[in-house]
Structure formats: structure tokens, C-alpha cells
Subunit: 197 residues, 2 copies
């Protein structure tokens, strides 16, 4: 296959790049391969070879345990459960969480056939059951998406964690900072009203 | 530097990918590096090493001369002058041109200081001056963008080609196929009216 066509076909499989932008990107890079094309090739290989899931939390990093789990300044007793690594990164960018994480790898979904075995539920229960006594977990924060699947997954985890010596909390729901009421969906408005303080 | 951060920084320099989509693309690839990440790394390197500008027309291809210049079924006497390789590819996708091309590499612009020496003007003049007698060029089609720079570049080339034994033509301007008059800019409407047949 023609190397340019092959490159465009692969580029267009990146999320956010259609066939048209893949063509533009390929052309831009081909105009001066040393500027971006060869460095990007190297960076893709380097990341593919270096990055592994953290054995503790499931984060993707070049070290295992990841830099968050290995950081003694993070509160190892405060575990924030997220659906995926993207959510973990978002919380890190917000500097919102001083503890550590647990990446679930998805949410429960009868529709797509995702059960507890497909997710990292068992490792979470193990972490929680060590409890504060074992130098382990004190609180589990369920930071799952505010969708039907996210809510039912949170509900399921709350059930499973009921016997463990940890406090289980959930993210607050309500009006986003800077959000005008007018632009919000009805569900969020109703939830914010119910959860008024 | 962290390999993931480095990868995201390079990905976000691709046209069409912002920092946010670069992050999404990196995460998606890291989830299964064998699926897309390593093939893309190889494809980037392969294309960077194989692809060169065609010595005749300036097209980017894995062979030199490119497959269009080397194709005996293309009309080598009919040369279509385009601003860049992207325009050449667009004409090829449209199967609109049975001849060959000449990639100018830009348009004249006093603002950005692009003069004839920065563009592939001299090679075009050499191609044109061989004329039909030398088995060379019969007609030069100026397919430059319908912008101020494109128009002044076309004008300049028409002047320079005046002495060569070739016919110089330009793309027709007018209403795009499927274009509603209502959505068109005034300049296109006026040009289409002036060029009525």
C-alpha cells in the first residue's frame, strides 16, 4: 500500500481527526518530516513501550506503581474511584484531589454486557478491606459519571463496600460553577434543587 | 520529560487536534498500543523516509518522478499549476484533470515576503519554454486559489508565460455546483454574473 495513503488511513482513526484533517495533518508533516513527523513517530513508540497500567490504581504511567500511588505526599487513605484514566487526569488538572485513585475501567452496563468481572471491582474491594488499620484506605469517593450507568455502578459499589471498614462518599451534584440555570438540563436543575443546603 | 506529556504535546501540534483531543487520542492509543500506536509510529517513519518531492512537478510521493508524472496515460502536455500538494490531491480525488501538475509551493505575497524566488516559478517557466515541439507542454492551466494573492500570482505567471509557446488558461469562477445563491458571498455572485454565458 502507498505509504501516504496508509498513514492517512491510520491518522483518521484517531479520535477527533476525520479523513479530511488526517490528510491535512499528513501533508503538513510531510512538508518537513524532521520537524514533527519523526519526533512523533519516536514519541509514539517511546510511550507505547514505557507506559503501563499502575498495578495499584490502574492509572497509565511510565512507572509502576504510578507517580501518584508512589507519592508519599498524597493521602493514601483517600481513594477516588473514577471510570477511566481521562477522568483521573481531569481531576489532576483541577488539583482537586489530595488522595489517590482507583480506575474502574468502565461502568456497569447491561446493554453492553459489562459486569463487575469486566471492571476492576475486586481490586477495589481488596484495597477497601485492608481498612485504616492496615495502613490502608479510610474513605472511598465515588466520582463516577452522572449518567444512568454511572449511578447504578455507584449504587452497586456502595452495596459491595458496605461491609468494609471505610466511609463511602459520592461527588456532589448540582449547578456547575459559572453555569447559568437557563442552559442546564432539567435533571441537573431538579437534582440541584433537591440537594439544596 | 514524561513520555505521555511529550506525546500529547507533539500530537497537539497536528492541525485539527487541540490539546483536549490530543489527550483523548493519546489515552485511546495507550489503552491498546498494538492496535494503533505502534502501527502509526511505523507509518510515520516509513512515510517520512519514503516520500520526497517529485523533481518534475513538486508533488509528494514515494517515487521520483511521482506516479502522475511517470504515468504515460496522463496528458504530459497539459500542466495544471496549483498552490500546494493539498490542491493537487483535491483535483485528483475529483478525477477532474487528465494532465499533469506543477506545484508552486505557495502564492506571491508582499505581506509575508513571498517572491517568485521562494516559489517554483523558474521550473514552471522551463517546462513551458520547451513547448509542444520538444514533446513538452501545450497548455498551462492556472488553478490558483480565488484570493487576492492567488489572483495576483496568476496575473504574474500569465505575464511571465506570455513569451512561451503555450496556451495559458485559468479555472472558471462562478457559483459552486449545489451552492444556493443566498449563501454565496458578494464577490462570487458578482464574478458569476460578469462571467455569464
Amino acid at each position: 500500500m502507498d505509504p501516504v495513503e496508509h498513514l492517512i488511513a491510520l491518522l483518521s482513526r484517531l479520535p477527533g481527526l476525520g479523513r479530511r484533517s488526517a490528510r491535512r495533518a499528513a501533508l503538513r508533516m510531510l512538508a518537513d518530516p524532521r520537524a514533527l513527523m519523526l519526533p512523533l513517530s519516536d514519541a509514539l513508540r517511546a510511550a507505547a513501550e514505557a507506559v503501563t497500567p499502575c498495578g495499584i490504581c490502574g492509572n497509565l504511567d511510565a512507572t509502576d506503581p504510578c507517580r501518584i500511588c508512589a507519592n508519599p505526599e498524597r493521602d493514601q487513605g483517600l481513594v477516588c474511584v473514577v471510570e477511566g484514566v481521562a477522568d483521573l487526569w481531569a481531576l489532576e488538572r483541577a488539583h482537586a484531589h489530595a488522595g489517590v485513585y482507583h480506575v474502574l475501567g468502565g461502568t456497569l452496563s447491561a446493554l453492553s454486557g459489562t459486569g463487575p468481572e469486566e471492571l476492576r471491582v475486586a481490586p477495589l474491594l481488596r484495597r477497601a478491606e485492608e481498612g485504616p488499620e492496615g495502613g490502608g484506605v479510610r474513605e472511598v469517593i465515588l466520582a463516577l459519571p452522572a449518567t444512568v450507568e454511572g449511578a447504578s455502578t455507584a449504587h452497586y459499589l456502595q452495596d459491595r463496600l458496605a461491609g468494609a471498614p471505610v466511609t463511602v462518599t459520592r461527588l456532589a451534584q448540582g449547578v456547575p460553577i459559572g453555569g447559568s440555570l437557563d442552559a442546564l438540563d432539567d435533571g441537573t436543575l431538579a437534582a440541584a434543587l433537591r440537594a439544596r443546603r
